[in-house]
Symmetry: C2
Subunit: 446 residues, 2 copies
C-alpha cells in the first residue's frame, strides 16, 4: 500500500513544506531531487497561485485558473513527494510534529519549511477590510472584479448624477507595484472596454484614483521610475494623489488627511503583515508580525524549522530589509532546501544572499517600468516587452502560459477583455427604482 514510498536501506528524511507559494514551491522542487528525502507538501488550497498576475484576474483579463496550477500536477512525476490539502494549525518543536486542521491530527517532521505568505495589513483598522478588499487570493480578485463590474451595471441604470459618479469611482490605496498595476489596469478596462459597451455612462464619467501616503509612487524603485509611473498613469487618466493618508473608510467614501472622496469601490494595496501562523512558531516577530529568521533562513535556535517569504523579515548584508516579492521568496526556497540538504549531509548551513535581478511594474499597454541591477531604469515599450517575457516565463504551467499569451495578444490587438463574469447573480442589489419607469424616455409607438 505504501508503494509510493522510496525504498532504501536507511530511512528517508521527512521534510514537510507548508505552503506552495513561490518560496514553498521552489523549496519543494529542490528537495524532490534528493533521493533520501521524503517530501510532503501541505497547502490549504489545491493550487499554486501566480500572485504577480492577480490584478489581471481582478480586472477581468484572465481567468482564476490561468494563474493557478494544481499542486498535484506539479508533483506528478515526483515519486517521493506527497501532496496534502490542509492547514497547519500548530507545532510541537520538541516532538517535531505539526498539527493539521482542527482535527488534532499530527504529522512528524525531520525538517520543516513554513512559507504561507503574508496577509493584508490595515494598519490597526481591521474594520476596513470588508470595504476595501486586499489582493492576496483568488477570492479577493473575484470580489474586486464583481464589485467593479456590478457598480458599472448599476451606474448604467442610475439617474442621479452624483450617485452615478460615486458608482463609477474606484479608489486604489497604496502606490507600490500592486497599486500602480491595479490602477493602470482599471483605467484601461474603463477606457477601452466598458466605454464601448455601455450606452448611457461614458468613460469620462468614471474615475480611477490612486492614493499614496508617501511623496512618490513605487517608493522601492529609483526616483526616475516613480516619475515615469506618475506620468504614464496620468496619460491613462488615473488621478494620482500623493501625500494622502487614509484616515477612515466609510460605506461609500474614503476620508484622507486632506479631503473626503466618494467611491463605490475601494481596493487596498497598502500594507502587508505577517501571517498569524508565524506567532505559533515561538520565534521573535517584527512590528508587522513577521517572523525574524536567521540569515540561514531557519528560526533562531532551531535548525529544524525554516521559515520563508512574505511571512518573514530578513535584512540583507547592508542592513536593508528584503522586499516582499516573488524573486526573494523563490530564491529563499531554493536556498532553504539546499541548507536542509547540507544539514542532512552533516554540513553547516549557509547564510542567504539575495541576488537582485531587478524589479518591474507594468502600467498599461506598451507601458512599464523596469529597474535593472545597478539602478538602470527602463520604461515604455522595452520595459513592457521585458515584463511580458518575464511573467510568461515564470508561469509554471505550459498550458496556462500559452492561454495567457493568447489572451494578452487578443487584448492587445482587439482591446477585448473577456473574463467579465459577474458570479453571484442571485445576490446583486436591486437597481434603483427611478430609472425603470422609462429607461429610454420613449413613449408609445405611433
Amino acid at each position: 500500500m505504501l508503494e509510493f514510498l522510496w525504498k532504501s536501506e536507511t530511512r528517508p528524511w521527512r521534510v514537510i513544506v507548508v505552503g506552495a507559494g513561490f518560496a514553498g514551491l521552489s523549496a519543494a522542487r529542490e528537495l524532490e531531487k534528493r533521493r533520501d528525502v521524503e517530501l510532503t507538501v501541505l497547502d490549504r488550497s489545491n493550487h499554486h497561485l501566480f500572485q504577480p498576475l492577480l490584478y489581471q484576474v481582478a480586472t477581468g483579463g484572465l481567468n482564476p485558473s490561468e494563474i493557478a496550477s494544481p499542486i498535484r500536477s506539479l508533483f506528478r512525476d515526483s515519486p517521493r513527494a506527497t501532496v496534502m490539502l490542509g492547514s497547519m494549525t500548530g507545532i510541537d518543536r520538541r516532538k517535531r510534529t505539526i498539527q493539521i486542521d482542527d482535527s488534532g491530527s499530527t504529522l512528524p517532521y525531520d525538517y520543516l519549511i513554513v512559507a504561507v505568505g503574508g496577509r493584508t495589513s490595515y494598519f490597526g483598522h481591521p474594520e476596513w477590510e470588508s470595504r476595501a478588499p486586499g489582493l492576496k487570493t483568488l477570492d479577493d480578485a473575484r470580489n474586486i472584479r464583481q464589485g467593479v463590474l456590478l457598480a458599472f451595471e448599476r451606474a448604467e441604470m442610475e439617474e442621479d448624477p452624483e450617485i452615478r459618479r460615486r458608482l463609477m469611482t474606484v479608489a486604489v490605496i497604496g502606490g507600490g507595484p500592486t497599486g500602480v498595476e491595479m490602477a493602470g489596469a482599471l483605467a484601461e478596462l474603463r477606457t477601452h472596454v466598458l466605454s464601448r459597451e455601455f450606452k448611457r455612462i461614458r468613460p469620462e464619467d468614471a474615475r480611477v484614483l490612486l492614493l499614496e501616503a508617501g511623496p512618490r509612487l513605487l517608493s522601492g524603485f529609483p526616483e526616475k521610475a516613480s516619475a515615469t509611473a506618475l506620468s504614464e498613469l496620468g496619460r491613462l487618466g488615473v488621478e494620482v494623489l500623493l501625500g494622502e493618508t487614509v484616515e477612515d473608510i466609510g460605506t461609500d467614501s474614503v476620508r484622507t488627511n486632506r479631503r473626503s472622496l466618494s467611491a463605490e469601490n475601494v481596493i487596498w494595496a497598502a500594507g502587508v503583515q505577517g501571517h498569524p501562523l508565524g506567532s505559533l512558531l515561538e520565534a521573535p516577530l517584527d512590528r508587522a508580525g513577521r517572523v525574524k529568521i536567521a540569515p540561514e533562513l531557519h528560526l533562531p535556535h532551531d535548525e529544524r524549522v525554516f521559515c520563508l517569504g512574505d511571512m518573514t523579515s530578513l535584512e540583507n548584508r547592508h542592513g536593508k530589509p528584503l522586499p516582499g516579492v516573488a524573486p526573494v521568496a523563490a530564491q529563499q526556497g531554493k536556498h532553504a532546501a539546499r541548507n536542509i540538504g547540507r544539514l542532512i549531509d552533516g554540513k553547516r548551513p549557509k547564510p542567504f544572499r539575495y541576488f537582485d535581478k531587478g524589479s518591474m511594474a507594468t502600467i498599461g499597454r506598451k507601458s512599464a517600468v523596469a529597474v535593472l541591477p545597478g539602478g538602470i531604469v527602463l520604461s515604455g515599450w522595452t520595459a513592457w516587452l521585458g515584463w511580458l517575457a518575464v511573467h510568461l516565463a515564470f508561469l509554471v504551467d505550459v498550458q496556462n502560459r500559452l492561454v495567457v499569451m493568447f489572451r494578452w495578444a487578443w487584448a492587445y490587438l482587439g482591446w477585448k477583455w473577456n473574463v467579465r463574469l459577474i458570479d453571484d447573480v442571485q445576490h446583486h442589489p436591486s437597481p434603483p427604482a427611478t430609472v425603470m419607469s422609462s429607461p429610454t424616455g420613449a413613449g408609445l409607438p405611433g
Copy 2:
C-alpha cells in the same frame, strides 16, 4: 443624454427580451435588425451561457468564462439595444408592463419575449437538491467540480477502504444526453488525469455510476445510438444501471428500486421542469409547470407576450412534444422575433415549425453518437469530429472559441485537464485523523 436612442419620425416599438439564453439571444439578434424596434435585453446574469458545454466546466476541462459571453459585448454594436442586469418578477398584461427585481420598478413593453429557461426537476423531492445538484448554471458546475475534486483529495488521505470507496464513487442520475456526457467525462477525468497525480488511490478504486430509470440510455435517440452509448461508456469503465428508479437520496447513498449505492457525489441529470416565472404569466401550464404556448409562440390569447424555450411546452405537427434542446430554443427565438415583426407590420404571425438538423451526444475522446435527420446514426470518430465542429461553431464568442479549441487540443494530445481549482478552500472538511499520525509509515531517519 439619450443619444443612444434611434431617432425617427415615428416612435419605435419597445420590445423587451427577458433571458439571454439560446432563445432570447437569437430573438434579440433578429430584432436588433429592425430600425423601428427599441430593444431591451434583461437578464439576471451578465452573460449568455453555452449550456451544452457546462458538463466540461463541471469536470474541470473548461473555465466558466470560456462558455459564457458578456451580454453587453454581444450587443456592443447595436445602437438600439439596451442591456439590463435584473430579474423579471411580475407582469401586468393589461397595462403592458413588467416588474423588475423586488424594488417595484416597472418597464413598459409593446412586445415581450420571456425565455428564462427550465429548472431542474426532482420529481416532487426538492430535498434531494442539496445532495444531488443539477447542471443548469455555472454555480452548479462549480459545485460539482468542487465536490468531486475534494472527495478525491479526502480519499487520498483516508485509511478505511469502505469510506475511501464511497469518496471515490460518483453517481449520475439520468441517462439522457447530459447524464451520458457527464458520466463519460467523469470516467476520463478519473482514468487519465487523476490517476497520475494521486499516489495512494488508484483509478480502479474509483467508480462512475450512471443510473437510468428507463430500459435504455438516450431515450430520445434511435435504439442503435443507445446501444452505442452503452457499449462506449462500458469501455470507459462507467457502470450503467438501467431500469433503476431512484427512491431516496441520503447523505452518502442512493437507494433505488433494486439496491442501495454508497456514493459521496451524486449528480442529478434526470428531469427538467418549467420556470417559476411561467406561472406568473397567467397562461395554462402543463404537468411539468411549463407554459403551454400557441403554435405562433405567443401566449394563448395574447399576441403581445411570447414565451420560448425550455420553460414552454409545444408539440410539433405530429403531436410529439419538442425536445428541450438548444436548436429548438434558437429557432423559436428567431421565429418569435419575425412574428413580432409581422405583427408590427400589420400581418398575421406564422406557426413555428422546428427544423430538426439532428442531435448528438459526446461520450468521450474520439467517441460520440449523432443522429442525422432521417434517423441515420453516426458513431465513433466521425460523430466525435462532427460534435467538435458543431459545438465550436455555436460558441458565440470568437475568443472563447479559440481558447476552447486550444484546451480541447491540449487535452486530446496530453490528457491534461487544467481547470481544477478547488475554490472554497477555507471551508473544506478536515481530513480524517487516522492518517495523519504517520502518513507514510516511515520512522525516524537512521
